[in-house]
Amino acid sequence: MIVRLISGDTPRSPILTALLLLILICLAGAPFLFEGVRALDTAARICIFILLVAGYDLLLGYTGIVSFAHTMFFGMGAYGVALASTHMGRGFDALLVGTVLGALAAIVLALLIGLFSLRVRAIFFAMITLAVASAVAVLVSQFSDITGGEDGLTYKIPRVLTSANRMGEVMGVKFTGKILNYYLIFFSSLALFLLLLRIVNSPFGRVLQAIRENDFRAEAIGYRVVWYRTAATCLSAATAALAGSLFAIWLRYVGPDTTLSFEIMLDILLMVVIGGMGTMYGAVLGAVLFVLAQTYLQNLMGAASHATEGLPLISELVDPDRWLMWLGILFILSVYFFPTGIVGRLRRQGTT
């Protein structure tokens, strides 16, 4: 049953299995296991980024296509929800309409980009996505009447999903709409992740891997490579948009910095590479590590800086403002020592 649920794609390493189970339990029980608004916020971000990164892995790791437009699709889902909630008023109908329209718009745009550029060469596709994503980011900040420009949009979501909705206590924790909202995100992300896992293990997924390995031969045995690449791009765009919608529902705010920025695009790339490309589970580990580091590394460094106040150079080095430098060093080390990512490394250990 469980093997079917994960499409027969078992972690194939005891340590990896343990880690994944631990992550699943922590995320599933986050409202009850961890205290505070910040912890819940981090857990929600992790869920959303797992989905976002897994969708990117479908493209980068399984099909071998580099795209820089993943945050654009992420943003389309987020702005879909934001715009629908602004214009239709708060309500589940607005959330649904925004999500569906955002995902559809992402699919259509991905289809256009794919058909125009994937015919030629994969590197051309990377450049086109970069250009289109930059153009969209500029448009979003220019058309401030519609999109709120740099300030973004703030809107209301159904009351049921906010902390104003108190539903009594469960296990000593006040069960509010916020927790309900969290579970909406958790279960949506989980379901979509399992769907992605199924897709990469389907006949279609095998064709994508074949294209990654040898597109020339894939074409020669009768697969129309352009169509498969385009379909993978559309699927990846759709999951990014859905992740964006979830993010918008969680934050009740969208702006260029939270959804469209190039920094997030780089974060996604790092998460895929650190976790392990072409494994799906790599997305889980990459997203968890990265979001945790982003949220707590600064705190940790603050404490370390405080403790080493007397020492001149060290307290400077561990100053919270240097957290990006440390993240960079961690990234270089992980790429150097685990070129196949954490998952690749753990799996190899499992076989030898």
Partner: protein, 254 residues
């Protein structure tokens, strides 16, 4: 009269000023094995590339079962029954032997866009792939990755992939090149088996004269991209052009 499966009419390709294949007109009827011979650089593989679509023709046409396929892409030609095995091994290196072959059968059965079923649950594909692997004697290595196979085994898989496509036109490009003496007969027996099916036609680029002698119903000779001879083996082998192609004499002087 037997059906003409494949036909090239004045098929030409120019690379800059160089004419790699020069107005080759040839008909390939069902139930026949045609060996294509000629010295290195004569345009044999380029001729294959033109037929299977990897290279676009400058002029002339390729016709498959009476339909003009000159403007079609590689995948489309394959779907219509043009199967090709490659001279340089050209597989999916990080997938298993079974997975390589299953991809071929999956393509033939148009199951590539199955998104929500598990690939492993298509047992009919696995069964067919296993059957073919037994025929080429690769069944014991079916779970190995292609990168772990010996050169000879990779050649066998290359042939197995073509059999998996079950095409109308089989195109072999030196199928036994680099294989050991005891491995090659397996492949040659398979080609003989395919040849016995009168609804198919086989094109074989080959250098080894003994292979040509045992398998070919007909030989065509390419020289500098042009068709230099076409006929039954005995006749062509004795002709001056083949003597030239294999002995290295200048054709112009003959």
């Amino acid at each position: 009269m037997t059906q003409i499966l494949l036909e090239t009419d004045a098929l030409t390709v120019r690379f800059g000023g160089h004419v790699a294949v020069d107005a080759v007109t040839c008909k390939f009827p069902a139930g026949e094995l045609t060996a294509i011979v000629g010295p290195n650089g004569a345009g044999k593989t380029t001729y294959f590339n033109l037929i299977s679509g990897q290279i676009a023709a400058t002029a002339g046409t390729v016709t498959l079962k009476g339909q003009d396929i000159t403007r079609l892409g590689v995948a489309e030609r394959c779907r219509r029954g043009l199967g090709r095995a490659f001279q340089l091994t050209n597989l999916f290196p990080d997938l298993s032997v079974l997975e390589n072959l299953r991809l071929v059968i999956q393509s033939r059965k148009h199951k590539g866009f199955g998104l929500f079923s598990m690939a492993d649950s298509h047992t009919e594909l696995t069964a067919e792939a296993s059957g073919i692997l037994e025929r080429v004697r690769l069944d014991t290595q079916k779970d190995q990755l292609v990168t772990e196979l010996s050169h000879g085994d990779q050649r066998k898989l290359e042939v197995a992939m073509l059999i998996g496509l079950d095409p109308l036109v089989y195109m072999f490009d030196e199928p036994t090149a680099g294989m050991s003496v005891d491995e090659a007969p397996v492949i040659l027996d398979l080609i003989a088996e395919i040849k016995a099916d009168t609804s198919k036609t086989v094109l074989l680029v080959e250098h080894k004269l003994d292979v040509i002698r045992t398998l070919a119903d007909r030989i065509i000779v390419l020289h500098n991209g042009a068709l230099a001879a076409d006929g039954p083996p005995a006749e062509v082998m004795a002709s001056a052009v083949v003597q030239e192609a294999y002995m290295g004499k200048e054709l112009d002087h003959v």
